[in-house]
């Protein structure tokens, strides 16, 4: 092993370097590889999770927009229905109030006619009594005497009858 001697190879030095390597292996494994591989792993997992989440969110969004469209359609239909009902109701209401109003007008007219008749009657009555008095006064003046109650009545009756015709 002359060649090894020329290169200065000594078993002790070989052993020392092997020990050096093992120490370095231990230190780096503990301080460098494990933490960094762990961080890389975590990051990878996190990215995977994020991608999965993004997919989920997109799916959910699609679902929501679908449901939204459906809901808009349904509410449009419902709105139409409500409007139709309201229109019908309003027509009914108009019809009802028209009838009511007609009825009221008719009634008013009848009432008015009745009241008119009543007033006419009353005037007639007053006129009758007023006329009697005037006639009796006129008779007194003409005849110069006071007629008896009976005569008076007869004459008034007669005059009124004539007057009427």
């Amino acid at each position: 092993m002359e060649i090894l001697n020329q290169f200065g190879v000594q078993p002790v030095l070989l052993a020392a370097q092997v020990v050096n390597f093992l120490i370095l292996l231990f230190i780096l494994n503990k301080l460098l590889y494990k933490p960094i591989l762990r961080v890389l792993d975590e990051r990878k997992k996190r990215i995977e999770d994020s991608l999965k989440n993004a997919e989920e969110i997109e799916k959910r969004l699609n679902e929501i927009s679908e449901r939204e469209a459906e809901m808009v359609l349904r509410s449009a239909k419902e709105g139409e229905k409500i409007i139709k009902e309201a229109t019908d109701y309003a027509a009914q209401l108009i019809e009802d109030s028209r009838k009511e109003y007609e009825r009221l007008i008719n009634k008013g007219m009848i009432d008015a006619r009745r009241v008119g008749q009543m007033e006419k009657d009353m005037i007639m009555q007053q006129a009758k009594s007023g006329l009697g008095e005037i006639i009796s006064l006129a008779l007194e003046k003409v005849t110069g005497k006071i007629l008896s109650q009976k005569d008076q009545g007869q004459i008034i009756e007669k005059t009124i009858k004539e007057f009427k015709t």
Binding site: G8, Q17, F21, L24, L25, L31, I36
Partner: protein
């Protein structure tokens, strides 16, 4: 011109352990890497800052490479070893290229010397790589299947197995000498060029050496990974 020295310079002795300048640099590399990982690990966040980003990039790339080649199950075991080879060799090579690195002297010897310009260091790494490769092969295949890789009753495959057994030793030699040769040659080139003309001219060579340092780290890592994957798979003969 400087004399080319193959042996690392010995700075002193700690009991029976000779402290060479390459061993010292090896310790410094470990310290630098430890401090950097401390900084990175102390503020690991989900949203990374610049430093964390760089290491995430390398580690993520390394991990996907390993799990592509070895499968997710074995990747967890292979990955730390393979990437540690990469970081260790890369930082050692880059540290050795720092300007003025080899100029500091201690007792008339250079205090620092690029770690991988010493065969001791590269051979140790290659041996570790080979040992771990075979250990994983044993673990994943079991003793019977592991031995079947090299020894079978079929005489042709027995011969092939013996060749592959020799190949296992060549792997160690090629891994260690490739790294050592590249870095040592780089050091020699740099000092030679600097000795010729110290201004501007060494710059392209420095750039080259940075690339070489990175490539050698990547090559060591890739080869170790491939050896591990190949050896811990069942021999194809079994399927026939």
């Amino acid at each position: 011109m400087e004399k080319v020295v193959l042996k690392p310079e010995i700075l002193g002795y700690f009991n029976f352990l000779p402290i060479t300048n390459t061993l010292l640099v090896s310790w410094i590399v470990i310290m630098v890497l430890t401090i950097i990982s401390f900084i990175v690990a102390s503020k690991v966040k989900k949203v990374p800052d610049k430093l964390q980003n760089i290491f995430e990039l390398v580690i993520d790339f390394g991990y996907s490479l390993v799990s592509d080649l070895a499968g997710p199950q074995k990747a967890k075991v292979f990955f730390p070893i393979v990437v540690t080879f990469f970081f260790f060799i890369l930082f050692a090579n880059l540290l050795g290229l720092l300007p003025g690195f080899a100029t500091i002297t201690f007792k008339h010897e250079p205090l620092f010397r690029s770690m991988n310009s010493d065969l001791n260091m590269t051979l140790a790494l290659a041996l570790t790589s080979a040992f771990l490769t075979h250990a994983f092969a044993l673990r994943y295949l079991g003793v019977a299947d592991y031995l079947k890789k090299w020894f079978t009753l079929n005489p042709i495959f027995l011969f092939v197995g013996l060749l592959e057994l020799i190949g296992e030793f060549t792997k160690i030699v090629s891994l260690s000498f490739r790294l050592f040769g590249n870095i040592f040659a780089g050091e020699v080139v740099l000092s030679t060029v600097a000795a010729i003309f110290a201004f501007i001219i060494p710059l392209p060579f420095y750039l080259l050496e940075i690339i070489v340092g990175f490539v050698q780290a990547a090559v060591f890592m890739m080869l170790t990974l491939v050896f591990m994957v190949l050896l811990s798979e069942k021999h194809e003969v079994d399927h026939n």
